[in-house]
């Protein structure tokens, strides 16, 4: 019998993953939606670095380090022994949970407030019109791609593609947490 078998455990790793996935999925989605409203209700600045972009920066950090924090929580609260393989799997699962939560929440919100997507598109057009040297074709193509992204197919397509990179990044941060906090499975 190894040390791992003698280690007292509380709860399951998946419940921690689910909890952290929900927290980070909700946080990042709410932040993005809130920044969207700030953009809709603010004067066009003519800069790419608007409120949604600031929200985007924070969301980047949140989404990337969800795996790190989940592994830390599992190691501290459930089982102190974790291999790199197990850590990677935590990263994969948490990225999937975040993606699903994000898709569901945004779709629900588009139903609650159908004017949100129109508001974002209109404020983006207004903002791009303030930018010097932006041709009309560029504005048209941006509007077209935004309109596609706000449909269910667009949201699912975006989620499917972006989840791949989200998984890679969360696996890396999860591995970092394994290295820092987990005990090695020695024999």
């Amino acid at each position: 019998m190894s040390d791992q078998d003698n280690t007292p455990t509380t709860g399951s790793p998946f419940s921690v993953i689910l909890l952290y996935g929900l927290i980070f999925g909700i946080l990042s989605t709410v932040l993005q939606l809130a920044m969207g409203y700030v953009q809709i209700n603010s004067e066009p600045s003519g800069s790419f670095f608007g409120p949604t972009a600031i929200g985007g920066v924070v969301t980047c950090f949140l989404a990337a380090f969800a795996g790190f924090l989940a592994v830390r929580a599992i190691v501290k609260g459930v089982n102190p022994v974790m291999s790199f393989g197990q850590g990677s799997w935590v990263g994969v699962q948490i990225a999937l949970v975040i993606s699903v939560v994000s898709v569901v929440l945004t779709q629900v919100w588009y139903l609650i407030d159908p004017a949100y997507s129109e508001g974002i598109i209109e404020s983006t057009i207004a903002n791009m019109e303030q930018m010097p040297g932006v041709p009309d074709e560029a504005i048209d193509s941006t509007v077209e791609s935004l309109q596609k992204q706000f449909t269910l197919a667009g949201v699912l397509q975006t989620a499917a593609i972006s989840t791949v990179v989200l998984i890679v990044v969360n696996v890396l941060t999860s591995l970092l947490a394994v290295k820092l906090f987990a005990q090695k499975d020695e024999f």
């Binding site: 800069s47 790419f48 670095f49 972009a53 600031i54 985007g56 920066v57 969301t59 980047c60 950090f61 989404a63 990337a64 291999s83 790199f84 850590g87 990677s88 993606s99 193509s141 941006t142 077209e144 791609s145 935004l146 596609k148 992204q149 667009g154 397509q157 975006t158 593609i161 972006s162 989840t163 791949v164 990179v165 989200l166 890679v168 990044v169 890396l172 591995l175 970092l176 394994v178 290295k179 820092l180 499975d185 020695e186 024999f187």
Partner: protein
């Protein structure tokens, strides 16, 4: 069958292959970060899959992103630095494995703390720039990002090699 698999894992060729495969993967990822400019002559729309792929982890704002062949890359300069650091760190480990082992021996876990500290530097840099204490540039962001990627991949290099201890353990178990 299980015994044979364990013996195969103990093969020194496999020990060298895993880091090379990891480095190849990070190289492929790095090529993706270069964006659609690698194969397109005209700028695509923002809905192009290349931009969408990294959208969950990188804002890729136009004025904070390098151009490749006149077309905006898929990630901003900081993230480009991070992905470059991951690639170079992975190749450094794959080609000079003894260096990684030596670092791990003299500095166990310290590289991981350096990686985490370097991430803190990113946060400070973003905050300082936003507050107006300093103005960062594309290059300064890329250099800071490079350090984080390099230390991150180097600190977890054990994950990209087949552990001798683990193999010997599983071999003994199956035998």
């Amino acid at each position: 069958m299980m015994q044979r698999a364990s013996l195969a894992q103990l093969n020194p060729k496999n020990q060298r292959l895993a880091p090379v495969l990891a480095a190849s993967f990070f190289t492929l990822l790095w090529i993706f970060t270069l964006g659609p400019g690698v194969y397109l002559s005209e700028p695509p729309t923002l809905g192009h899959w290349h931009y969408i792929a990294f959208s969950a982890v990188c804002h890729a704002l136009a004025d904070r992103t390098y151009l490749y062949d006149g077309i905006q890359m898929a990630v901003n300069s900081r993230c480009f630095g991070i992905f470059s650091g991951l690639m170079w760190g992975a190749w450094l480990h794959a080609l000079i494995p003894l260096f990684a082992v030596w670092l791990e021996t003299i500095w166990p876990k310290r590289l991981a703390w350096v990686a985490l500290g370097w991430f803190g530097v990113q946060v400070i840099d973003v905050a300082g720039n936003q507050i107006g204490w300093w103005v960062n540039t594309l290059d300064s962001r890329a250099i800071l990002g490079f350090g984080f990627g390099l230390f991150l991949v180097y600190s977890i290099q054990e994950a990209f090699q087949i552990s001798n201890k683990h193999n010997i353990k599983s071999h003994l178990t199956h035998v």
